[in-house]
């Protein structure tokens, strides 16, 4: 069933002669990448000021010379992250791209594609169609993105947005949620960047579109 859907989608994109990734997707992808790197590395410095978990990130990996600078970077890049994220999410829903590309996700296909990937036998012939593992990871990272922004807002404004803070289990728990979401994003990044390097044409497609 998904095979036929995929074939139709592939045929459509080829037929229209459109890029694998439209310009707005590529643009928001790279702006997000830059904003995320700033958010994560400044966030690590903020963590070091009073570690949530009993370890510190090495200074060489953090942004901002001290807590002051790290906070300035964090609360500057958050605007870029949120504005860019909003554009991406609104267009993703409005254009139907999320619906076309990310759903449905069938568990048996995820398992099948995961094993195929691990054996190095997953096809990348048509980059405009995501395999089941990609669908799962991309949907997961979008949801994680929502969690990190909302939990971030809840610890930035625990009085004005106290309902949101309560939703995340109160101020102290919301910090752990924010941290866990960061950890999930970093884990995703490791896999994502590794695979992009292993399949260079996918990286090319995200830069030049095809």
């Amino acid at each position: 069933m998904s095979l036929s859907t995929n074939t139709v989608n592939a045929a459509k994109s080829v037929g229209r002669g459109t890029a694998i990734h439209p310009l707005v997707v590529r643009g928001t992808h790279w702006v997000n990448a830059a904003a995320m790197v700033v958010m994560i590395t400044s966030g690590w410095q903020i963590h070091n000021a009073f570690p949530t978990l009993p370890f510190e990130f090495p200074n060489v990996l953090t942004l901002g010379s001290d807590l002051t600078g790290a906070l300035q970077w964090h609360f500057a890049a958050m605007w870029l992250l949120m504005a860019n994220g909003l554009v991406y999410v609104i267009l993703g829903f409005a254009s139907g791209r999320f619906r076309r590309k990310l759903i449905p996700i069938y568990p048996n296909e995820v398992v099948h594609d995961l094993f195929a990937a691990l054996r190095g036998k997953l096809s990348h012939d048509d980059l405009s169609v995501y395999n089941a593992v990609q669908k799962l990871l991309y949907t997961g990272i979008l949801l994680t993105g929502a969690v990190i922004v909302l939990s971030g807002l809840s610890i930035w404004k625990p009085v004005q947005f106290h309902a949101l803070t309560s939703f995340f289990g109160g101020y102290d728990t919301a910090r752990y949620v924010h941290f866990a979401a960061m950890a999930a994003i970093v884990a995703f990044l490791v896999v994502h960047v590794t695979l992009a390097v292993l399949v260079p044409k996918s990286l090319r497609a995200m830069i030049v579109g095809r």
């Binding site: 000021a49 002051t68 404004k157 625990p158 009085v159």
Partner: protein, 258 residues
């Protein structure tokens, strides 16, 4: 953490940007030159230390000021900080300052007077005996530190908005400035000063404020980060100019609202 990029030999980044801008159509050129685009362009063209350089510091300060305005808009004067039951009070409540506990100011209760100044009708200084006679309010709220930790404390004292009205303060003034015994200071916005939970605090957990927590007076502001809650307060001025503050002047966000 200095990160130096090697400048392109023989290329002045500013001149190059100027030349690049000339190629753009009139409208884009104006937008380009007016916008912050030059920061990114400078970094790309080399020579500019974007991470710790003066340019990025200036841009970050501008954004921090923008964040002050956003936070002032987000601040709802009727939104109350959550209050907690006594069982949730953090014990012992942490001492926190940029000096150690035994370096904290020691103030003689009998000699102490709270100095009042600025746009206020009655500038008579207040003794602790006089302040302790004023109607008492109480709160158990969360103190959130800029470092990320938090602690729940129990504070009693005079509602600051009542006190400001009583002394005939100009409530249309923009700021209230607090001076502290050790040289610390804070300026806060008038809407926050008038918030129902902003308190001229004389007691912690129903006992005279201990030296560690700011004897004789702390200004408890549960809608702001901890460093915007001055301790050992000796003077209060109502004014229209922003006199900054100890940490704010070092780059911490001025509004620091919660």
């Amino acid at each position: 953490m200095p990160r130096q990029r090697k400048p392109l030999p023989g290329v002045d980044p500013k001149l190059l940007i100027g030349d690049a801008a000339k190629i753009l159509p009139e409208q884009s050129r104006r937008v380009f030159l007016r916008g912050g685009a030059s920061l990114g362009a400078l970094a790309v063209l080399g020579g500019c230390d974007i991470v710790d350089g003066d340019t990025s510091e200036r841009v970050l300060r501008v954004i921090s000021t923008f964040n002050d305005r956003v936070q002032a808009l987000l601040f709802n004067p009727n939104t109350l900080a959550p209050e907690y039951p006594e069982s949730k009070i953090t014990r012992p409540f942490p001492f926190n300052a940029y000096y150690s506990e035994d370096e904290a100011p020691e103030i003689d209760a009998d000699q102490y007077q709270l100095e009042i100044g600025g746009l206020v009708e009655n500038k008579k200084p207040w003794t602790l005996t006089e302040l302790n006679k004023l109607p008492e309010v109480s709160q158990i709220t969360r103190h959130v530190c800029v470092e990320g930790w938090s602690a729940i404390g129990s504070w009693q004292g005079v509602k600051l908005s009542d006190f400001l009205k009583m002394i005939g303060a100009d409530l249309s003034a923009k700021y209230v400035w607090f001076q502290c015994a050790e040289g610390y200071s804070n300026t806060i916005d008038m809407p926050t000063a008038l918030h129902p939970q902003t308190q001229l605090t004389l007691k912690f957990d129903h006992r005279t404020l201990p030296r560690a927590y700011g004897f004789p007076i702390k200004i408890r502001i549960p809608t702001k980060l901890g460093f915007k809650n001055p301790k050992y307060v000796t003077a209060m001025w109502v004014q229209n100019n922003d006199a900054g503050g100890y940490w704010e002047n070092q780059g911490y966000n001025w509004f620091s609202g919660l």
